[in-house]
């Protein structure tokens, strides 16, 4: 090998090492401090007000709810792991999101579907961590179970920040549209204090001790399912296949229900994997506490505890049927 070749090899080798070292600087910080690309005057005014109380994507703040260090680390994780589906501002307005069904969750109203708190209450921190860690089966929300606890903690912090921020934004923008003289900064501050407090104080609803299913309880649940009182069949169908008359227009072959974000709703086929979990306690929560943002109501105030228990038994029996 000539000296010239050796020199060339050395140069190429050194350049390759340099290039590899450069490329292994992973996980860039959010490239922009702004979250919104909207340009209408109201949105810009709202964003300016939000920035005063929430900071921005690079330096988020949430006062006593989450630490700045967790939020900054969470922002980096969000940019690399979550943003392509949930969007920079948590509104799931990406083109990737449009290619997935069900569509990734938009945080526009601060609503989380699968949680342990009451229907109108914010999700608990544990609810968010659970969803992030375990994912949601049969959807594109994969679990991040291989992540260290610290990473889950940090991305949960940032997710909460986005949820609260978006909930405040939606509320003040709605109020401003009704009353153009509204002081947005003051309204944002008031909304932030109230909503942050609600998020801080929310807690899981206790699940009653559920008895083991019996043929009698399953039959009772089936009767409630198909009856007018609970009227589950109207969306989920008589066989629980998710094609009830209120949901599926068999004449025009289209789904009729919509969720809060305007997306088509397909009531769950109760013989398939349940999105919110298949444990009895999970099924109880979905029936008793409902699924906010969707047509699935909370039944706790309409049905007696033993009726809800019977429905849980019936749904679990559908899960076990072929």
């Amino acid at each position: 090998m000539t000296n010239r070749s050796l020199g060339g090899l050395f140069f190429v080798g050194a350049a390759c090492i340099f290039g590899l070292l450069l490329s292994f600087r992973f996980g860039s910080a959010p490239t922009s401090s702004t979250l919104s690309r909207e340009t209408d005057p109201l949105s810009l005014e709202a964003e300016a007000a939000l920035q005063i109380f929430f900071g921005n994507a690079r330096e988020p703040k949430l006062d006593n709810l989450e630490t700045s260090a967790d939020l900054r680390a969470g922002a980096k994780l969000w940019a690399t792991k979550c943003m392509h589906c949930h969007g920079r501002s948590g509104l799931a307005d990406t083109s990737t999101a449009a290619m997935l069904r069900p569509r990734p969750r938009s945080f526009s109203h601060g609503i989380v579907k699968f949680k342990s708190s009451g229907f109108m209450e914010p999700a608990t921190r544990a609810d968010l961590e659970r969803t992030i860690r375990n994912g949601i089966p049969t959807t594109s929300m994969a679990g991040f179970f291989a992540f260290p606890d610290s990473a889950i903690h940090e991305v949960t912090a940032y997710t909460r920040w986005l949820l609260i921020r978006n909930q405040v934004k939606t509320e003040v923008m709605t109020a401003k549209e009704k009353d153009l003289s509204l002081d947005l900064v003051a309204a944002t501050e008031r909304a932030k204090m109230r909503i942050s407090q609600a998020w801080a104080e929310t807690k899981a609803e206790p699940v009653p001790i559920l008895r083991d299913p019996t043929p009698a309880s399953i039959a009772r649940g089936g009767a409630l399912f198909a009856g007018e009182k609970a009227a589950c069949f109207s969306c989920h169908g008589k066989q629980g296949a998710g094609n009830g008359p209120a949901a599926w227009d068999s004449v025009n072959e289209r789904w009729m229900l919509r969720d809060l974000w305007g997306e088509e709703v397909r009531p769950r086929n109760l013989k398939d994997t349940l999105l919110g979990g298949t444990a009895a306690s999970d099924v109880w929560r979905r029936i008793a506490l409902g699924i906010p943002g969707t047509p699935m109501p909370a039944h706790r105030d309409r049905l007696a505890p033993e009726e809800i228990e019977a429905l849980v038994h019936f749904v679990l029996s559908l899960q076990e049927s072929p």
Partner: protein
Amino acid sequence: MPAQDHPWVHRLAIAALLVAILLTIGLGGAVTSTEVGMAYPTWPNINGWSLFHVFYGEIAEAFGAGSALEHSHRQAGTLMGLLCIALALAALFGQTPRSWKILASACLLIVILQGLLGAFRVVGNDQIMAILHALGAQFCVLLLTAMAKISSPAWAKQPQSCASSGANGLRLWTAMGIAVLFLNLIAAASLRHKEGAFSGHLVLALVASGVLLWVVRLAFTQARDQPRIRAAAHRLAWLLGIQLGLGLATWAILMGPLLDSFDSDRTRFVAQACCATSHLVVGVLVLVQTTSLALEARFRLHPESSA
């Protein structure tokens, strides 16, 4: 026995190579470009639907276009696996040279490993596995290129080996070219899957381009009496030019001056995905051509002093 007595080995190798480049890697690249690699984090079935379900409209209707795209990539991988099984059987049970048997077996093993890497990537939600999966695909292409080349009747018809003053140089620098291409692939995969720094990919792309241009120069100046090598170098030069152009376009659209020049997010998204995927596929063709040239230099040339 001469290659013309085993046409099916060559045909299967070519088929597997085409499926690998155009379908498996092309669709896989599109999956990554549109960021739907985790569209359904189950494997191998799609949320209970069979891997062999071919009604993509139904899948798109149920789970979205992203799921249909990911599903088609998995099916292309399955097709590759079947072709590699057939290739291995044809090579192992035919009266073929030992090198063919080894290469065909290696192709099959790598394809199986690729399937497992894909599974781990999805089930484990692991981006390091995604990078390894990307590298494994390129390594598979390298092996299939070699298999297709040495099993071709044209290869068998060539004179055994010609003396050339440029033999050592070409052997050395084509091998270096392949090595640098793989290092560049690591940087590119890191950029796509783990938000690695673009500067690393840029540096390695420039190094790879420099090495390959040197290879082209050597081929034209020191192997000018080898028409096959000159033709291969000519193709490599063209592919390299196209690849650099696509790289520039991809950079411009993804993070450069053209990023904000689209009238809608959807148009931008489609343009970005098309550019990035084309850049990836042409990159594979560059690897194929470099591998082909390396084989010509290794087995069809020898240094003049060792005639």
